[in-house]
Structure formats: C-alpha cells, structure tokens
C-alpha cells in the first residue's frame, strides 16, 4: 500500500485525466511491484538506450554516465496518474515505466549526475526546487547535530520544522509569497491568512545525524474552501520513505479572526497548483475526544519562550507538539517511539499564555510497557482557563534496537 501511495504521489498528476478506472486489478500490477523488477525487464528488451543505462545502477552505486536527459524534465505528458489503469496499452506503459526509471534514478542518484547538468544536482544549500512539471516542490535537508533529540535521532519537531520550511519555500519559489507566511499577494490585500486545522504525520523511520532527507510537498483542494498540503520525506540516498504527512488549511481574516471562503482572485492564483491525488496518509477519521481533568498525566505551567514566537509574536505550530509530549509518560518515551500523530488545531496562543498539557493512555498498561506493542495516547493542550489549543492522538511503537548505538561510532577513516 505504501508503495502505491508513493508512486501515486510521485505522479500526482493533472486533474484533467479522468480516472475512469479501467482495469482496477491492474492498479496493483504495475505500481506496487518493486522497481528493481521492472528495470531488469526493461533492459533485457533493450527497449530504449536510456533505460538500458539504468540497470547497472540499481544493484549498487554505479555512476550514471548515460546521457539520459530529455525525459527528466518533461515526464508529464507520459504519465497521467491513470497510466496504472491503462495497462493493456503497452506503449503507454513502456513510456510510463521509462519515466519511473528516470524518476527513480534521479531520486537515488542525484548526486552522481555529471556537472554538465548542474540544475539536476542536489542544490548545495538546500534551497529546493520545483519538480514534476511545476506541481511538486522538493528540498533536501541535512540533519544537523542540534536537531537530534534525546533519542539520538532527529526529533519529531525537527521533522515538522522541515515540513514547514518546504511549505514556505514552495510558495516562495512558485512566486506566490505575499508575506512571510504563505499568504499570496491577493490574500495579503484582503488580510487573509492560512491557518492549519488538522495535521497527520506517520513516521516510518527517524533519520539521524548526518542523514540527508528529501522532502517533497504539494497542495490539493480540500473541500470547497480548504487546501490540503501533503509531504513525503525520503532518505535522499536510498529513496526509502521515512515520513508521510498531510495537513488541512483554511483561510482566516487576520483582523476579524473569522474563517473565510476562498475568494475568486485567490482561487485564480493557487488553483493550478492543486494536484489531484489522494492524501499521502490514510485519513484517520476517528473522532478526537476532548480530555478533561481526569487525564492521567497533566503538566502545567508551560509557557512560550522568546524563541518560540514568530514575527507576529504567535507561537509557532510546531512548538505545540513539543508541549504535547511534555506530558507523555516517561516510560513510553523511553521504550517507544512516536509513530503516528493526528492533531486538530483549535486556537492559537501568544507570548503570555500559560498552558497545560494533558495525556491519557489508551489500551496499554503503563506498568507493562515492555510487553506492549503499539500504544495509543490522547492529548489535549489548553490554556489555564480551559480554552483548547490543540487536540491530538499519538501512536507509539517499540523503539528499534539499533537506535542506541547509532551514534557511538568513530569515523573509520579520516577523509
């Protein structure tokens, strides 16, 4: 399933091609097969020279030297999402599969491309670039030492910060940045801002110091007046999917603080960036219940520091996650890692707010955590006076064993 999601998000293509599901069974045939299998098939047929160059790489770390150029920049015509459904059409399939190769090759071998295609090199400063025919923004991040948390892996806040950064850079690179917050020029004129209402994150593996992650992000419509932004985070070297996230945004008037419909002028600005694809994370539609004082774990007196505030002196969304985890029970934090998170944002808070973080553990016996596999917790972040800031649900799974030694290595040879 994940693979399907991955490839479909990889080609989150145009709304024009209708997905009249021709051959539903074929959906699984092409996309979820491992790409390795495809490549060898291709090469043996010798279908085209460019594809031929690919196979020797998959097995390892070979440098690509084949002049595979043209395909990379214009994959769009050949791979509407429905290519999956058009399996009987072999020429379409082959064209599409070639595109998969090239996209995967680009994915895995980015650094090895020869300098004569400098724009294809990983951008050295991690500024990011638009790919996929203008619809997806991609940026790489090298995990810095101060982004590593007590678990010796990148913290969930680091990951969320990266997501926020790519979202802003996407809007900026697309020329739509009216202010520093993702408001388009038309929105600024009308005093409208985006506010996040919902966020879902699933982490399959946390990166560690020195890893490089590649974040892809794109937007879609969410209902008539909302926007959904999805992210897919991969290991830049291996292409392994590390994290998937999906968020829902609505428009609010920043002066009246009332929600607003998307005005026509704004719709004109952003509509053609919307991609018609399924959410990259399966929607968790279970109702998030509000905790009350009977929650087992409560931490009070949390307050924002100067460093937590953005230019408007509001607390950055990502900080809420840190506060939510402040009341997570220590035994869970020690033996488990955060695997999934669903958050509903209700209200914002500012410099002088004092917050309380509540956690309730469902299903598992805290005393017996060693034996529990998956544990789920419910969370509430609220102000002293009870006003709700964020509601959440988190899923935890036992930590993988190798985390503990991952950093205790001395470089085997100096450069």
């Amino acid at each position: 399933m994940v693979a399907t999601a991955a490839t479909s998000s990889f080609f989150p293509v145009t709304s024009s091609s209708s997905s009249d599901s021709v051959g539903k069974s074929s959906k699984h045939g092409v996309s979820s097969a491992n790409l390795g299998g495809y490549k060898s098939k291709q090469s043996s047929n010798g279908l085209n020279i460019k594809a031929n160059a690919a196979p020797s790489k998959i097995n390892g770390t070979a440098v690509t030297t084949a002049p595979v150029k043209v395909e990379n920049d214009s994959p769009s015509q050949h791979h509407p999402r429905t290519f999956i459904n058009q399996l009987p059409d072999w020429s379409m399939l082959l064209a599409a599969v070639t595109t998969i190769f090239l996209a995967a090759e680009k994915q895995w071998m980015m650094l090895d491309w020869k300098p004569r295609r400098p724009d294809m090199l990983v951008d050295p400063f991690g500024i990011g670039k638009i790919v996929q025919d203008g619809l997806v923004f991609r940026q790489n991040f090298s995990i810095r030492s101060y982004e590593i948390g007590a678990d010796k892996t990148a913290s969930i806040e680091t990951l969320m910060n990266h997501l926020q950064e790519t979202a802003l850079n996407h809007v900026k690179t697309a020329g739509l940045l009216g202010d520093g917050f993702g408001s388009t020029p038309e929105m600024c004129k009308k005093n409208l801002i985006w506010v996040v209402t919902r966020m879902q994150v699933v982490v399959d593996r946390y990166p560690t110091w020195g890893d490089v992650v590649q974040v892809d992000t794109w937007v879609s419509a969410a209902g008539k007046n909302g926007m959904r932004r999805d992210w897919l985070v991969r290991d830049a070297k291996t292409g392994e999917i590390l994290t998937r996230a999906s968020s829902v945004w609505v428009m609010m008037n920043k002066l009246t603080r009332k929600l607003s419909k998307i005005p026509e002028e704004v719709r004109g600005e952003i509509e053609h960036y919307f991609v018609n694809s399924d959410p990259v994370v399966d929607e968790d539609n279970r109702k998030l219940t509000k905790l009350d004082d009977s929650a087992e774990y409560i931490r009070t007196g949390l307050s924002p520091r100067w460093n937590d505030l953005d230019v408007n002196q509001h607390v950055n969304n990502v900080k809420y996650i840190g506060w939510i985890l402040e009341s997570a029970p220590q035994p869970i934090l020690e033996s488990h890692e955060l695997h999934s998170m669903t958050l509903e944002y209700r209200r914002e808070c500012g410099r002088n707010s004092v917050l309380q973080s509540l956690t309730s553990v469902s299903g598992a016996d805290i005393g017996n955590l060693a034996d529990s596999g998956f544990v789920e917790c419910k969370h509430l972040l609220r102000l002293d006076d009870g006003a709700e800031i964020v509601r959440g649900r988190t899923g935890w799974r036992p930590k993988p064993i190798n985390n503990f030694d991952v950093l205790n290595q001395f470089p085997s040879q100096s450069t």
Binding site: S56, K57, G126, R144, G149, A150, D211
Partner: protein, 369 residues
C-alpha cells in the same frame, strides 16, 4: 594464472578485461589510494587499455562515506588548521525580528564545531573526544561562550562559519569562530568559547595532559589566532554576580524534552534561550542583542527548575540611576533613547539557588524599519 596487480592503474585494466562495466567501487575502498585514478566510462575495453600509459580516463566516484559527507558544505582549510562550512538559514530559525535568533547562531556554531571535530577524526558520539580522552573517560565541557553578532542573517541567507581551536593555558582549549555572510563576504559575527576537560564519571575537572594536547594540537594553528583580538573586549571581562535583588526575574523555567541533546544533557544553547527570559519587554521590543557572554558553572538536569535573573549593568562612565531600578520589578533601563544597553544575568537552580551560569549581554537599538 592471473597475477593480481598491485597498483591502481593495473587494477583498472584487470577489471575492464573482465568485462566489468560498472563502477569498480569494491576495489577502491581506501579513498586516498584512489586519487588520480579514473574508472572507465561505460565504454568498451579498448578505451581503458589505451590508458595504460598513464593517461587517465575518468575519475572514480568512490561512493564511500555518507551522502552527507559529500553534501557537507564544509571542508578543512588548505593547511588543515581550520574548518569552514556554509549553512542556509531556515524559516523556523528566524525569530520575532524576521532575522535569525541568537540561539540559531549558537546552534550553527555548535554544529560547525562538531563537524570540525568529526572531520579530523574525533569521536562522533557528540563528545568530540580524542582516543586518549576516551581511555581516561574524559569529555570536553564548555566553560565560557561569547558570541557577537553585528548583523543577523535573514531567512534563506547563507552564512559561512570558520572555526579553529587552540590550547588555552594548561587547563583548557579555546574554539574560535568567524561568521560571514556568504553572499557579501562581510563578517557578520564572531565568537569564542573556552572548553575544559572533565572526567565523565567523577564530574571533576582535569588539566589537559600532554598526550591529549599533542593529539589535538596537530589540528590547531601554531600561532595564536583570535577571532576577537580586542584587548578590552567583553569576551575577556569578568562577569560579576549580580546584586540582590535583581532588577528583573523570571522564575520557574523548566527544561523541555527538546532542550536535551543526544547525550541527554540540557544543551548549552538552551541556557542562551533562558537568559533573555527575564529581560524587560521594552528592551526586547526596541533593541537587538549585540553580544552575549556566558560563564558556565554547573550543569542543569532535565528535572531541575531554573530562575532567570537580570540586572542593568552600568556602561563604562555611566551610572545606574537608583530610582529607575524600581517599580514592580520592571527594571526600566536608564533611558530608552540610549544607543546601547548592558545587562548582567544569572541563571540559578530554583530550589537551592545554586548558580548554573552567569552572563552579560549587550544590546543595541534596532534600526528603524
């Protein structure tokens, strides 16, 4: 019987004769041995054979080392005595002034220090220890940190930080930094830090022994090189303990889980965040931090509660007017129109009042926008 050749060029021939078209990575595991030899470019054997007389064909792109090492925008200088790295400022590292916060700067300094240590072969467990240090269970701890920023970078600016380390007397080492705006090559900040060795089991300080000193001195400039050469600079001045009662305070600060570094200690940078917590709002609104100096005395654990205290410090030649130290602890500093202000700080453990660190900050009036 094929005799295995020993030198690199012959090895290349050997492989191509076997019809091996891909990259001969496995042969060239020692990176240093690879330099100067190039692999074939997916072309038939003949092309390689012609390289026999030493004309190299292509470079072996040995893919040893993590992607980050190759992407790492940092490298040792020509003489190997300092290390430079570039960083881009990310949106979430920018604060209320639309510019990077001093914590961001401190984080980047920490990162470049760690990367320098790693690239010269010190441990990568976060402690940057030499082999001898590990033998004796010794680790480096920060004793003093001084950061000056002349111009804060904004979102998506690229800064280049150069760092080097040197011995400092018998007891410690110092690590200096110069921060430049990569686009303009202008120096936008400087920093210096002093480190001492501590036994990680007994938590007692220890002098730098000669064998440890020799291990790292190799990487240090021979002549004294100071990032901040000025003699009367604040980076050297003693920091007195501020008077009781302090002009301003913020009590009951708690370390968060995100303040812990990979060694489960409260990271140095968290302290830099606590210091301005007790600054009066008026100063934060109209001034920006020009420099911060911290003397680290004691560590703070995750479960400790911290008080942050601030008092105005008279600048040379001026005096603090007593009546302004007053009302409801707002500690309104001398005169808002002043170009510069200076403050003394104290972070202490709440319950017993033990000092965690002492600090001094200088502030300059923000440019009108």
């Amino acid at each position: 019987m094929l005799k295995l050749p020993c030198n690199g060029v012959d090895r290349v021939h050997l492989m191509s004769q076997c019809g091996f078209m891909g990259r001969p990575t496995s042969f060239f595991t020692g990176r240093s041995s690879v330099k100067g030899f190039r692999s074939t470019k997916a072309y038939p054997v003949q092309a390689v054979a012609s390289a026999k007389d030493g004309a190299v064909v292509n470079r072996v792109e040995a893919d040893i080392g993590s992607l980050a090492n190759r992407l790492r925008l940092g490298s040792l200088s020509e003489d190997g005595l300092s290390y430079k790295e570039k960083f881009i400022v990310r949106s979430y590292e920018v604060g209320i002034n639309k510019t990077a916060t001093v914590e961001t700067v401190a984080n980047l300094l920490q990162e470049v220090g760690c990367n320098h240590a790693q690239i010269v072969g010190f441990s990568t467990d976060g402690f940057a220890t030499t082999t001898t240090m590990r033998k004796y269970h010794l680790i480096w701890v920060t004793a003093r940190m001084h950061i000056e920023v002349y111009k804060y970078p904004a979102w998506s600016d690229v800064v280049e930080i150069e760092t080097w380390c040197q011995a400092e007397g018998r007891a410690g080492t110092r690590r200096d930094f110069i921060i430049k705006d990569y686009a303009t090559n202008e120096v936008i900040g400087r920093a210096t830090s002093k480190w001492v060795m501590m036994n990680e089991d007994t938590r007692r300080l220890q002098k730098v022994s000669d064998d440890v000193r020799d291990e790292f001195l190799v990487y240090c400039p021979r002549e004294l090189r100071l990032a901040i050469p000025e003699e009367n600079s604040n980076c050297l001045k003693k920091i007195p303990k501020l008077g009781d009662p302090a002009h301003n305070s913020r009590l009951g600060l708690m370390p968060r889980r995100s303040d812990l570094d990979m060694n489960q200690h409260v990271n140095n940078v968290a302290y830099i965040g606590w210091v301005p917590e007790s600054m009066p709002q008026e100063i934060i609104d109209s001034y920006e931090l020009q420099s911060i100096t911290l003397d680290y005395r004691r560590e703070c654990q995750q479960n400790d509660i911290v008080d942050s205290l601030t008092s105005v410090e008279a600048l040379e030649g001026a005096e603090v007017v007593p009546e302004l130290k007053s009302t409801n602890g707002s500690g309104k500093a001398m005169d808002d129109k002043q170009e510069r202000q200076q403050f003394l700080h104290l972070l202490r453990l709440s319950n017993e009042g033990l000092e965690i660190n002492r600090g001094r900050t200088e502030w300059r009036k923000k440019a009108a926008r």
